[in-house]
């Protein structure tokens, strides 16, 4: 599956630097795949906690962790959920650990090691501004 880097407008005119963004659909929210910034430096896969109730994901009583992201204290709640990624021609669904975070003022979710990268072989062509994502035939037990 191939994804072009996301082109974004700059408020001051022109464009921001295009970023590697992958659209990941939560089970129950297939009509609204969430843009997630690919982040090889992030341990977790994180999304806004606002999305959990929209997808019918129960977070009460789940494992939580408190952490700082971009200088902002955030609480992440753990859930194992089914995720789907598609480029329009192919699609892949897997069950993964996702941390639903509150607050989450960021424009994208984060596709990190646990939850995303452990399930895929990702080739980043930054110069050409696209990335190829293929399911890993030997996914780790994440």
């Amino acid at each position: 599956m191939r994804f072009r880097f996301r082109a974004l407008p700059a408020a001051t005119g022109g464009l921001l630097t295009p970023r590697p963004v992958i659209d990941i659909a939560l089970e129950g929210l297939e009509a609204a795949p969430m843009g997630c910034l690919l982040d090889s430096g992030a341990l977790r896969t994180r999304m806004s906690a606002e999305l959990a109730p929209l997808a019918g994901i129960e977070l009460a009583g789940t494992l939580t962790e408190r952490f700082y992201l971009g200088g902002l204290e955030t609480v992440g709640s753990f859930a194992r959920v089914n995720l789907t990624v598609t480029d329009g021609a192919e699609q892949f669904t897997w069950e993964a650990p996702v941390w639903f975070c509150d607050p989450w003022p960021h424009p994208f979710g984060l596709a990190g090691l646990e939850g995303f990268l452990q399930y895929f072989i990702v080739t980043i062509r930054a110069y050409n501004e696209y990335l190829d994502v293929e399911p890993n035939p030997e996914p780790q037990n994440a």
Partner: protein
């Protein structure tokens, strides 16, 4: 102020009144015709129904379009959306990837420009809907049986993207 008769009723309309009538509303899906108001695309019949209180069955798209262009709003016909889901070929993948975020990207970025700071649902280069929260976006998609390719908040600056990366 422009006086016009629609479905047997006479209205005194002006552009500001139209813009005010759309406050708090989200545009419905664009199937063919649209008018541009406050930097967004709106179905003409939705706009005229909100402004006049008339039932949409009481007038046609062309009547709505004509009324709104008389008030100075731009009207146009939307390009047909490509189908990205029918082929598994490599060519289809490339086309799909191009359409997904735009190649070379300028077009899709420009389509997002009016919505900086807002949540959007996009399909190819088209912004389906923009709103203040993902909940509104999801609700709109469900209500109108639309499927987005991507939902995200259009960042205000590089810092807003980098803010999510480990420090």
């Amino acid at each position: 102020m422009t006086t016009m008769t629609i479905s047997g009723h006479t209205y005194d309309l002006d552009p500001r009144r139209v813009e005010q009538a759309l406050g708090g509303e989200l545009p419905e899906p664009i199937y063919e015709h649209f008018v541009v108001i406050n930097g967004r695309r709106w179905p003409p019949k939705q706009v005229l129904a909100l402004v006049t209180g008339l039932d949409r069955a009481d007038f046609t798209t062309h009547q709505a379009r004509r009324a709104l262009t008389r008030l100075g709003f731009t009207a146009a016909r939307a390009a047909r959306r490509k189908n990205h889901y029918t082929s598994g070929s490599a060519a289809a993948r490339v086309e799909s990837a191009d359409a997904r975020s735009g190649a070379p990207g300028q077009q899709s970025a420009e389509a997002l420009r009016p919505f900086i700071g807002q949540w959007v649902a996009v399909h190819g280069d088209e912004v389906l809907v923009a709103a203040d929260s993902p909940k509104e976006i999801v609700s709109w998609l469900a209500r109108h049986q639309q499927k987005a390719q991507s939902v995200f908040r259009v960042p205000e600056s590089e810092q807003f993207i980098g803010g999510a990366a480990p420090q």
